[in-house]
């Protein structure tokens, strides 16, 4: 494999390692809080790596990355802002 392709296979290795760590943590019955932190952290790291390395966002102009990431975060934020209060109410036994 030529040098120019190496970063992709390095990213591939990191993604696989993170996946194995996630499965290991899940199987090993860690406390719920630790499990959530590790799994969500690994998930977001994997998403970031795919976005920047594979989808090549790190080489796009800032305005393009901002438009893409900004719109997803903005609308995703609205979605969760609408759902989270209800979810907490359910968790507290409100309904």
């Amino acid at each position: 494999m030529e040098n120019v392709y190496k970063p992709f296979w390095k990213t591939w290795g990191i993604l696989l390692t993170l996946t194995m760590v996630m499965v290991f943590v899940d199987v090993m019955d860690f406390p719920r809080f630790v499990l959530l932190v590790v799994l969500l952290g690994a998930m977001l790291t994997k998403a970031f790596l795919i976005g920047t390395e594979f989808m090549d966002l790190k080489h796009e102009r800032f305005i393009v990355g901002f438009a893409i990431a900004g719109s997803i975060l903005f609308f995703g934020g609205i979605l969760f802002a609408l759902i989270t209060p209800d979810a907490f109410e359910v968790l507290a036994g409100g309904r």
């Binding site: 591939w12 996946t19 998403a47 795919i50 594979f54 102009r61 393009v64 997803i72 759902i83």
Partner: protein, 199 residues
């Protein structure tokens, strides 16, 4: 004057240096990503509201789902290689890597079909399941089915890209746009794998 006309022409053909074809793919990815976000947010809410939820380690074979993840991540790496090869004008490598990605996609679909069949045999359907939590089957088939449909679409796109490379009419931009779609499919799986199979 001539350079001003050239700048105007370039602006009409691109958005901040990005071709409109690629911009359209990004807009599709954003809207489709929000659709999946809606599904996953709905799933999270329903799961909390349901009170209890089947233990995933009892329902799924984690090693098998991990293998599916391995296949999809590997196919994303081959696709990224194909995109770079396309930029370098190495269409022979593009053909090989797109074919490898295509094989990965087909393998993933086969594994998903096996997983679905196994669960259906165990009595998990849209309306009922052995744990008496109907929402589990609903969300499982909805989310993985919707993602699987995306993979199937990706496989069709990759087959088209491969055939075009064989006929010598493939452009590097064509590979890049197909690559964006395929990486998006991989990206969505990262969230499904974590939120549905592990947490």
């Amino acid at each position: 004057m001539a350079s001003e006309a050239a700048v105007e022409r370039d602006e009409a053909l691109s958005f901040h240096g990005m071709s409109w074809k690629k911009v359209m793919m990004w807009i599709f990815i954003i809207t489709d990503g929000l659709l999946f976000s809606g599904f996953l947010a709905g799933y999270g809410y329903t799961r909390i509201a349901a009170g209890s939820w089947p233990d995933q380690q009892e329902v799924f074979h984690l090693w098998f789902i991990s293998l599916m993840t391995f296949v999809l991540i590997s196919s994303s790496a081959t696709m990224a290689t194909a995109v770079t090869a396309g930029r370098l004008g190495d269409m022979k490598t593009v053909g090989k890597m797109v074919l490898a990605t295509l094989v990965g996609g087909v393998c993933f679909l086969g594994m998903q079909a096996f997983e679905w069949t196994t669960l259906l045999r165990e009595g998990v359907t849209l309306g009922a399941n052995p744990w008496n939590i109907p929402a589990f089957g609903n969300y499982f088939f909805l989310i993985t089915g919707f993602h699987g449909t995306h993979v199937l679409t990706g496989v069709i796109i990759l087959a088209t890209v491969f055939l075009r490379s064989k006929r010598g009419i493939l452009t590097s931009e064509g590979v890049e746009i197909a690559g964006l779609y395929w990486h998006f499919v991989d990206l969505v799986w990262v969230f499904i794998f974590t939120l549905f199979y592990l947490i």
